[in-house]
């Protein structure tokens, strides 16, 4: 764990503080204050991503550090989407998620600048990574939204609203996951010579995709009878996402084409 004593680090910690303030204001039911902090967190996360892009001279999506920065910046728009689509406030939960996302970027991952190797110089670089950034954030939010369903707290109508929100969030995440996977396959064909390399990261991504495919299938089969099992599936999916993002990239056990840190 190291503190980053750079402008980049400062911007990350500022975003961190705003996330924390959003969560605290939300916890003490200061709704409008919480919203202001939430918007401020977005602005500072965007500045952080933009600065990273300017500083490195390439889209800030090359390594895990940059990926996590992008995820933090994607939180606000996706949370606004939930408010518009489902009429639910998710700031507090999303801000907590933001803290979890920014922690490794702020304290663990190195911010060393590396220039883009030839393999990453492709028009598919941004769409492939951006789909996964937004997709993973969406799926993490779906798991968080499913918490009340797991605890079965609230009235029947509350639970139904939450269920619709969970389903729509997970579906949005699933589309993005599919887009990322397919764009990755097309890019693999262009860059590495084959659309499927049985690379560990590819296999885990496919497993994650099948997992969420299984979630939608079991919804179809069971309907609403088993809230808890469905929510548990979402959390299992999130576990897969986290493992795919971190363990597979960093562990030597899974050496492959996707190794970067």
């Amino acid at each position: 764990m190291t503190l980053k004593m750079t402008l980049q680090g400062g911007l990350i910690y500022l975003t961190f503080v705003f996330f924390l303030a959003t969560a605290l204001a939300g916890r003490f039911s200061r709704k409008s204050l919480s919203r202001w902090f939430w918007a401020a967190a977005f602005v500072s996360a965007m500045v952080s991503v933009t600065w990273r892009g300017l500083h490195t001279g390439h889209p800030p999506m090359q390594n895990l550090f940059e990926f996590f920065l992008c995820m933090a910046a994607a939180l606000w728009p996706l949370s606004q989407w939930s408010r518009w689509k489902n009429g639910i406030d998710t700031e507090t939960r999303d801000a907590l998620l933001g803290l979890v996302i920014l922690f490794p970027a702020g304290f663990i991952f190195s911010e060393d600048v590396r220039r883009l190797p030839p393999a990453l110089q492709s028009p598919l670089f941004i769409p492939h990574v951006a789909s996964y950034v937004a997709g993973y954030v969406m799926l993490a939010r779906a798991a968080l939204l499913a918490l009340p369903l797991m605890r079965k707290s609230g009235t029947e109508s509350d639970l139904r609203t939450a269920d619709v929100a969970v389903r729509q969030t997970a579906a949005a995440g699933f589309v993005l996951l599919t887009a990322g996977l397919l764009l990755g396959a097309v890019w693999g064909k262009i860059c590495w010579g084959h659309y499927w390399h049985f690379d560990p990261k590819e296999m885990w991504s496919l497993a994650t995709w099948l997992m969420y495919g299984g979630y939608f299938h079991s919804r179809l089969k069971q309907g609403l009878r088993n809230h808890r099992a469905l929510a548990a599936l979402l959390w299992l999916g999130l576990l897969f996402v986290v493992l795919t993002l971190t363990w597979i990239n960093l562990a030597r056990l899974f050496s492959g084409l996707h190794n970067y840190a």
Binding site: V113, R115, L182, M203
Partner: protein, 233 residues
């Protein structure tokens, strides 16, 4: 779970395992089953589900087709192989193995390497501080392609920009240092050739699959207020 297990195996062993005849038979059966689900979904007028399943089946069938091509490839009609060239070399022979020593076959056209170029980024302050050359920005093999019955032409092969000739995609795969017979240093390039007639089916599958996912999401997004007693995934 199966996919995760394959990830633990590592890319090479997983790929080997999946190309075994028994696995391909299982996969073919799975493809037919998924295709059947798609057809059933069409009958129920659930077009999102139909596109999703048929798209998946197309992708799997395309992969099986590609595997079939590799299995039935002959030395007159190779499916996959590489060649190492230094500037000025002409070749139409494909090789395989880590040292490119196993003969695969002959291509219906020939390649002459005009020049292999490695371009670096501009050296910045950090590079100077560390005392290294700037990282590589681009590998480029400039080749002359001679197809039978056609005038020879010059083309560039770069990472992320493969060349397509007579059904083969040609990739800038690798490079290395060597010496000539007077022990002067030389750089060689490795080009990979691959022929996969299943590719259009794969891409069609991707398109159908993505349309299916979009239709599915549109349907899920249309649910505004949940109705009591009725719910679908």
């Amino acid at each position: 779970m199966f996919s995760v297990w394959l990830a633990f195996l590592g890319a090479e062993r997983a790929s080997e395992f999946m190309s075994a005849t028994a696995m391909q038979a299982i996969l073919a059966a799975l493809t037919i089953a998924i295709c059947y689900s798609g057809v059933r979904a069409v009958k129920r007028r659930r077009f999102d589900s139909a596109a999703l399943h048929i798209g998946c089946a197309c992708v799997m069938a395309g992969w099986l087709w590609g595997q079939h091509t590799i299995r039935t490839a002959t030395s007159e009609n190779p499916a996959k192989g590489s060649m190492a060239l230094v500037d000025g070399d002409v070749s139409d022979t494909l090789w395989t193995g880590t040292q490119l020593t196993n003969y695969v076959g002959r291509l219906p056209f020939s390649i002459r390497l005009e020049r292999f170029i490695i371009e670096h980024y501009e050296q910045n302050g950090f590079d100077r501080e560390v005392g290294r050359m700037a990282p590589i920005r681009e590998y480029r093999s400039r080749v002359t392609v001679t197809e039978p019955g056609k005038a020879p032409y010059v083309a560039n092969i770069m990472v992320n920009q493969p060349l397509y000739v007579c059904g083969y995609h040609i990739y800038q795969m690798s490079w290395g240092n060597t010496v000539d017979r007077f022990r002067r240093p030389m750089v060689y390039t490795v080009l990979q050739f691959s022929r996969d007639p299943g590719l259009p089916l794969i891409y069609a599958g991707f398109a159908i699959l993505f349309v299916g996912v979009m239709l599915f999401t549109v349907r899920v997004f249309r649910v505004k207020k949940p109705e009591a007693g009725r719910d679908a995934a």
